[in-house]
Symmetry: C2
DNA sequence: TAGATTGTTAATCGATTAACAATC
DNA sequence: TAGATTGTTAATCGATTAACAATC
């Protein structure tokens, strides 16, 4: 499973997409696929697929292609979809509520084990089978459940403090939906995904408002 | 406002982040900033900032730096935050609900004008001040409200059809949260932001599960 | 004026694509 | 065997960084 030591961020971001598309291909009952066929589906180049996969190993067979089920399972293994990483969700507001019930965490290799909110009125209510807990319980809960991931659905101003508190509780990964940018290059072994929904919407609006400046699209409407 | 004709995707994705950080700087009461100071805050290089900004124009003053309020307002103008693009949200499930009340659309240059769901039981209920409408009303509603953006919070299997239906109703932009990948290089002038929350979570898990293969971090924990 | 910092060009770096020998 | 398609190296392309002259 290990070949090259450095895997670029661009490759990492494409792995889940490969996993997703291979799942679709598999669901269609196709058992064998070439890099060209997969590339056509995904609107990327066959070269890129082969180059990407070879960061991890030779999963294909020359002259034949790739076994869909096998390749998907290999990529799943690399991503760790069979793991069971415990996660806590902080902030049971609108977005927190949605994320606690909308996502099938098991599919991604994690498990939601605790939900917390600073608002005492929410404490005790149930969300996706879990009770919302008080922030004062965070320390004791983490000591017994030992979560690895924290999902932050809290306001910007609370993020720095909560983040530091969680780092002290051995949280290794932040899935951050607060409007605050977590940059942790100081804490070794800790990883972050900042998901800025507002940034994404703004990027979309930029493309609407600046049709002439659209990148990498051959055909423009004027 | 126009200088270079082609603006790369990388630059576009950074614009909202500049806008965000400049907002923070402004809130701190700082009126003047150099590319170096801003770069330090954002953990990027000063070169990149100057290079990025010069896609749009010379907003700074040599020997002095940038006027924070002015630069922020210029970038806001480029992003179109003062626009009022009408948007419809399709799918009032958990995520749809969260997106209809959690985001301050006005801040990003849009306005939510309609919410739709295929489930007739939800029709008529209120969400963030708007009634959930039946999918059968979609055509008549779009003809009067003329939405530009569609926010898709629907299941994967419904996405292709809904997407085609909306394209026929002159929707120019898709903010897509369904697990389906929209690729519209055929329809000129239409733009897409595919937000795959699952992919983001998987990328985070990859980084947890493969600490040795982490990219672009000088210090690894072993 | 001298110092600071931009705008912009040139150099470097990394990622994508093309090519092709290896091989099933 | 011949045809197909991989794994991998080399060429190209684009994005980031460095350098510096222009100038406030």
């Amino acid at each position: 499973m290990s070949k090259n030591d450095k895997v670029s961020n661009s490759v990492i971001r494409r792995l889940p997409r490969y996993y997703r598309f291979l799942g679709e291909v598999l669901a269609e009952g196709i058992s064998k696929i070439s890099s060209r066929e997969l590339a056509d589906r995904m609107k990327i180049t066959a070269s890129q697929i082969r180059q990407d996969l070879n960061c991890f190993g030779g999963f294909g067979q020359q002259g034949y292609g790739y076994n869909v089920a096998e390749l998907r399972s290999e990529i799943g293994e690399i991503l760790g979809v069979n793991k069971d990483l415990p996660a806590v969700l902080i902030g049971a507001g609108n977005l927190g509520k949605a994320l606690s019930v909308h996502l099938d965490y098991k599919k991604y290799g994690c498990r939601l084990c605790g939900i917390f909110d600073a608002n005492e009125e929410l404490v005790g209510t149930m969300l996706g089978g879990l009770p919302v807990r008080s922030m004062s319980e965070l320390e004791s809960f983490c000591e017994s459940c030992r979560p690895v991931i924290a999902i932050l659905c809290i306001p910007r101003e609370e993020a720095p403090d909560v983040c530091e508190r969680l780092t002290g509780l051995d949280i290794k990964a932040f899935w951050n939906f607060s409007h605050y940018d977590i940059t942790l290059e100081n804490i070794p072994g800790t990883v972050v995904e900042n998901v800025h929904l507002g940034d994404s919407l703004m990027a979309l609006c930029y493309k609407i408002n600046n049709p002439g400046k659209k990148p990498e699209t051959e055909e423009s409407e004027q």
